[in-house]
């Protein structure tokens, strides 16, 4: 590592981010175990938490398909969109991460050649 990396504001931001998320995540994981029965999650919160994984993942996946080259205007990336639709079908039929990833990548490469 070069000496300048120590004062690099980007490096500082990255470390602050990682440690910040690390601490918050550890507390989320540890506090309920540590407090044992003294902590009762409300029914309302439990119901909400069930929806966190699908909602978060969709909020990460979908923009990457619709905002090609990180433009601000909606600009569907057709090969990616079609490959994602195909991968959804594979995931639904096979429930296999490996097949979804491998066949999804093959579909993208194929579509990129044909749609260009």
């Amino acid at each position: 590592m070069s000496p300048s990396a120590i004062v690099d504001p980007d490096a500082l931001l990255i470390w602050a981010m990682m440690i910040g998320i690390g601490v918050v995540t550890f507390l989320i994981r540890f506090v309920p175990i540590a407090l044992l029965s003294r902590l009762r999650l409300s029914e309302w919160l439990k119901r909400a938490l069930r929806f966190v994984p699908p909602a978060v993942m969709m909020a990460i996946i979908v923009p990457s398909l619709f905002f090609a080259s990180s433009a601000l205007t909606i600009n569907p990336d057709l090969p990616r969109l079609m490959a994602a639709a195909f991968a959804t079908l594979i995931a639904w039929k096979t429930r296999s991460t490996l097949l979804t990833v491998v066949l999804g990548m093959c579909a993208l490469w194929g579509l990129q050649v044909f749609l260009r």
Binding site: I21, R29, P54, A91
Partner: protein, 233 residues
């Protein structure tokens, strides 16, 4: 000393329970490592991320937000929402871990993942009478997951810097998430939550890169509304 044999065998059972997950966790860890490097992290930072945070979805979300120039607090808040589900797992595991020391509890809490939680709870239900050793099963399972995750990250970091961008390997991120989301969509409420979050993520325009967290909140709210209506009907 049957106690030791029993805890050791539970640990080994936990390690064995991990093996089928290798095929899904290893690619995901590789993706996290490669994505971190392509977002501008040094190889050391990318590896450190996996042991400091040790939560794939949050690592991906944070990496993307960092690359798009989001403010620090927004990145941390988004990751917190992504990881909030661990609170539910932790509360659910708490009664099983009540007899062990605080340091052990802290260590096991750090290792908590979706898979470690889900399989441990199922194993605990199956064993029922032998549940005082559940933390050994959990440790075998979650510890293996941790080792696999770190090795996968290193592999991803190394491969990520070798493969040219024209290969579009960043597309593995949405593909891995698709593979994880689809099996979750078992009922209408989950489906509506996913679709609403997806629509909101492209239609919502929020400042400070709050879109991800905003879209996720809309998806969660939509799912709860659908579930509530179903109950009242």
């Amino acid at each position: 000393m049957p106690q030791i044999t029993s805890s050791r065998s539970e640990f080994i059972t936990g390690v064995r329970a991990f093996t089928p997950m290798l095929m899904s966790i290893f690619p995901f860890g590789m993706v996290c490592g490669a994505a971190a490097v392509s977002a501008g992290l040094t190889p050391w930072q990318a590896c450190a991320m996996s042991w400091i945070i040790f939560a794939g979805s949050a690592q991906i979300a944070a990496t993307q937000l960092l690359a798009s120039g989001a403010p620090l607090l927004v990145i941390i808040a988004t990751a917190a929402v992504v990881n909030l589900r661990f609170m539910m797992y932790s509360a659910s595991l708490a009664p099983h871990f009540r007899l062990i020391g605080k340091r052990w509890q802290a260590f096991l809490a750090y290792l908590l993942t979706d898979q470690a939680y889900a399989l441990s709870i199922v194993h605990g239900l199956e064993r029922g009478d032998n549940e005082e050793n559940l933390h050994w099963f959990y440790f075998g399972l979650a510890g293996s997951t941790w080792v696999c995750w770190q090795l996968a990250t290193i592999t991803g970091v190394l491969l990520g810097s070798l493969v040219p961008a024209s290969w579009s390997l960043d597309f593995i991120v949405p593909l891995t998430f698709i593979a994880m989301v689809v099996p979750l969509l078992s009922d209408r409420a989950m489906l509506i939550a996913a679709i609403s979050a997806g629509l909101a993520s492209i239609l919502l325009v929020l400042p400070l890169k709050l879109n991800l967290i905003g879209a996720a909140m809309i998806g969660i709210a939509a799912g709860m509304v659908v579930e509530q209506r179903k109950k009242m009907a």
